[in-house]
Amino acid sequence: MQKPVSSNVSAAVLKPVAGRWSPPKAALWAAALSPKVVVGASIVAVMVICALFAPYIAPNDPADQDLTNMLLPPVWSAEGLAQYPLGTDSLGRCILSQMIYGARVALLVGFFAAVGAMLLGTTLALLAGYFGGWVDRLISQLVDLWMSLPPVVLSLTLMVGFGTGVGNVILSIVLVDWTRFCRVVRSEVIVVRRKDFVAAARLLGFGDFRIIMREILPSVAPLIITLFTLQVGIGVIVEAILSFVGLSVPADVPAWGMMIAGARNYMYQAPWGLFLPIIAIFVTVLGFNLLGEGLRVSLDPRLRKRSV
């Protein structure tokens, strides 16, 4: 307990700081109002709604084949049918419905792969950056080694080994992409670790674990959030690549990469079958990148505009 005393200097009453102050809530509001975040978050929200409520939104069952209406163009062209707003593929399946259902796999894989890569990469980064020495050398060299493997080939190989399935796709992306987190977060941890407040915490009797959790992790959290958002976009792309070569989910589950693969053979007769899933991927990844970039600017105190 601190001795109950008051000093004579406390007679000098200090007034609140001049000017506007910005509690962390204000930072979050500033983040929410930046145009990049608004556009990015809206795109992401639309995709999440599509994924969650696919059965209610989709006009048709994506697996239903209508062999009398194969390779139909979208509804606005002369041969289009109202039943298939964006046309059908070579097996007569509704493209719009497949795209809506495809958002499920894309987001599921993107989100959980990012969570996994974040947990693995951040944990190792905290250990390496905080303890330094041989721990750091070991982890950093592992990261260097890992990053010299070509990422797509690595995940393809892993998928061949694991077999198809959403869980395995997530696992293979985590095993490839944790290095990105590890490398970036580690350098930030090293910067924070040298700050005097970490030494102060040691003098106050904080143990290593407590210092990492209470002092260092909160300081690198904005960076982790930003990396996480960007990683979801990367996960969506990798999933599309894997499903394009048929190594992602089983053939009966709709996925954007698989739609591109299927439409590839008919791209001259029915280009929309190719372009529509590409647009879906493009918009989703753009949404996550805008969100991530916007959050980076708003959450990074160095890039925040100084309020006078």
């Binding site: 406390s10 001049a18 509690p23 407040f197 009797g205």
Partner: protein, 613 residues
């Protein structure tokens, strides 16, 4: 002949739809071969003057009224290109941070040469001219310095290069913006001397911007005192220093500890200088909210400048100028650390701290650097021990050794008579009764913790753990102890002023209920009035609660005010030790003598800077 004249210049900033006068109605006239000093604490607007002259005002800032004339030309109506042509040729700047003002990837010669090229000097003449100018700036090995990169020179040497560059083109006006703030005391004296010599040799007009009124009074013939964008007093340097007439100037001088004369309690001003966000609410004298002698009228309306002597005017009421309420504080009770008083709390015996660095092929060559060489001294219970030295003297390393953040490479440290390492653990880290107050609160306070969580950090874990409901009252007590208002508790460091942050920094260390506190340069980044607060706070903690304090500083006057005993450090060695008064009055070691001479004296009558090698 007038070189630079400001006539009722007002600089207005637009802040979120409101216009605020950042500089108000500023007038002065700088003539050839004259030095004017501009003095003020941070936020006074003194650097804004330099930016106004160079035309490099921040966005949304503009000169809204008044006239700026340079060499008879109206600077404000001059075209952009003509104005830029003046910069670097007729108007030059000497910056605050010499190292960051030079390009780190180009040699001194390349940068100086480029500057001469800009001045229109043909290539064959450049090298000889550079060497001549660097020699005049008393840079040793001028030829060799041309081949060096900025980081290979010291801060003082870089500043010499910049001074040589500034005077190379025979400018009409030199603006030196805090040219010695980033330098050590002894280097400061040498650089100030160099600037004054060069100014006299080239008959240049010099605008000398500083936060140190005593320094300005010794360098300049005239000084202007700035406060929150106003020039509150202007006059001959000696007169301003001897008979300050504005309440602010008086309190500024009163808050500076002296190196000679009787010790007195520093009267500290309340609050801090208003930020530009609150200028709009201060129509009258902007110092009024803090002024001990304010009345209704001077807070509401701005007084016109009043001439009190030839060339000495002040914007303050007549009743304040004469005598006034701000005289020297009560005499300070001096504590002598008798040999018998207090047991040694910490004793160093031949302690060495060295760093190994690997060099050469595969790091096979090892180089040893001794930050502390064989230090033997003790700290007695209940005393305030000062450790004085310039940067690189090893004083911070001593502090970290005392706190247990570094381990000695040789020698022993004992705490309360026991060895400080027991069972492989450092006892003061486990006991938590030694705390270190770090120099830079920016780095020492976790920006993501609120003031409440910073102050009670010691109660969060380990032996001192207290549940949340107990922490709140103890945080409130700590807040009072360090003199912060209760509404600070839920704020974050970014929302506090520099002085308030330093208080939180002190409060956190006190939260662990320490017996010994090591304060490492904790007032060096603060303004004088805030510094007085912090010093009084430390004195109070020591006198009332018997807290043992190790006060590390380069500022001799501050050390004299606070410390009963002092260690002088130079190059990792303790060169002199003794009672502060005795050491400062009769210094024995040449280093102590030189250090004492390098401090600008309180009285303007004594000639300064001294001749230094």
């Amino acid at each position: 002949m007038s070189v630079l004249s400001f006539d009722k210049v007002t600089v207005t900033a637009r802040l979120g739809g409101r216009s605020v006068d950042v500089l108000r109605d500023l007038s002065f006239d700088l003539r050839q071969d004259e030095i004017i000093g501009l003095v003020g604490e941070s936020g006074a607007g003194k650097s804004m003057i330099g930016r106004t002259v160079s035309g490099l005002l921040p966005e949304n800032f503009s000169v809204s009224s008044g006239d700026i004339r340079f060499d008879g030309k109206d600077l404000l109506t001059l075209g952009k290109a003509e104005r830029r042509a003046l910069l670097g040729r007729k108007i030059v700047f000497i910056p605050q941070e010499p190292l960051s003002a030079l390009n780190p990837v180009r040699t001194i010669g390349a940068q100086f040469g480029e500057h001469l090229q800009h001045l229109g000097i043909e290539k064959p003449r450049r090298r000889a001219l550079m060497i001549e100018r660097l020699r005049q700036a008393q840079l040793r090995n001028a030829e060799e310095a041309l081949l060096r990169y900025p980081h290979e020179l010291s801060g003082g040497q870089c500043q010499r290069v910049l001074i040589a560059m500034a005077f190379a083109g025979e400018p009409m006006l030199v603006i030196a913006d805090e040219p010695t703030t980033a330098l050590d005391v002894m280097t400061q004296a040498r650089i100030v001397r160099l600037i004054a010599e060069q100014q006299a040799a080239h008959h240049t007009a010099l605008l000398f911007i500083t936060h140190d009124l005593r320094l300005a009074a010794h360098v300049c013939r005239k000084v202007g005192v700035m406060y929150a964008g106003d020039m509150v007093e202007f006059g001959p340097a000696a007169a301003v220093l001897k008979a300050p007439s504005h309440s602010y100037t008086k309190s500024l001088l009163a808050a500076m500890p002296d190196l000679t004369g009787p010790l007195r309690v520093l009267p500290a001003l309340s609050d801090h200088m208003p930020g530009i966000g609150s200028f709009a609410d201060l129509p009258g004298c902007r110092f009024a909210p803090r002024c001990p002698a304010k009345d209704q009228s001077c807070a509401k309306t701005r007084l016109p400048p009043r001439e009190i002597a030839e060339g000495h005017w002040v914007r303050c009421a007549e009743r304040c100028s004469a005598g006034g309420p701000l005289q020297a504080g009560a005499p300070l009770e001096v504590l002598h650390s008798d040999k018998d008083r207090g047991n040694p709390a910490v004793a160093f015996d031949n302690v060495r701290l060295s760093y190994q660095s690997s060099r050469g092929f595969l790091g096979l060559q090892r180089a040893r650097f001794d930050a502390v060489k064989a230090a033997t001294f003790s700290i007695r219970e209940g005393e305030i021990l000062g450790i004085v030295g310039e940067s690189g003297s090893g004083k911070t390393s001593i502090g970290r050794l005392i706190a247990g953040l570094e381990q000695p490479s040789a020698g022993t440290i004992s705490i309360d008579g026991e060895d400080h390492v027991q069972d492989g653990r450092i006892i003061h880290l486990t006991r938590r009764d030694t705390q270190l107050i770090f120099q830079d609160p920016q780095s020492a306070l976790n920006p993501r913790r609120s003031v409440f969580r910073l102050l009670t950090q010691a109660l969060e874990a380990g032996a001192g753990y207290k549940p949340e409901n107990v922490r709140r009252p103890s945080a409130e007590l700590l807040l009072k102890d360090v003199g912060l208002p209760p509404d600070c508790l839920d704020r974050f460091p970014a929302q506090l002023s520099g002085g308030q942050r330093q208080r939180v920094n002190i409060g956190r260390a006190l939260g662990a209920n320490p017996k010994l506190v090591v304060a490492d340069e904790i007032v060096s980044g603060l303004d004088v009035s805030v510094q007085a607060h912090i010093l009084n706070c430390l004195l109070d903690l020591n006198r009332r609660h018997g807290l043992t304090i190790v006060f590390i500083s380069h500022d001799l006057a501050v050390v004299r005010y606070l410390c009963s005993r002092v260690l002088m450090m130079c190059g990792g060695e303790i060169v002199e030790e003794g009672e502060t008064e005795a050491v400062f009055r009769h210094p024995r070691h040449p280093y102590t003598k030189a250090l004492l001479e390098a401090v600008p004296p309180e009285s303007a009558d004594r000639a300064w800077p001294p001749l230094l090698q």
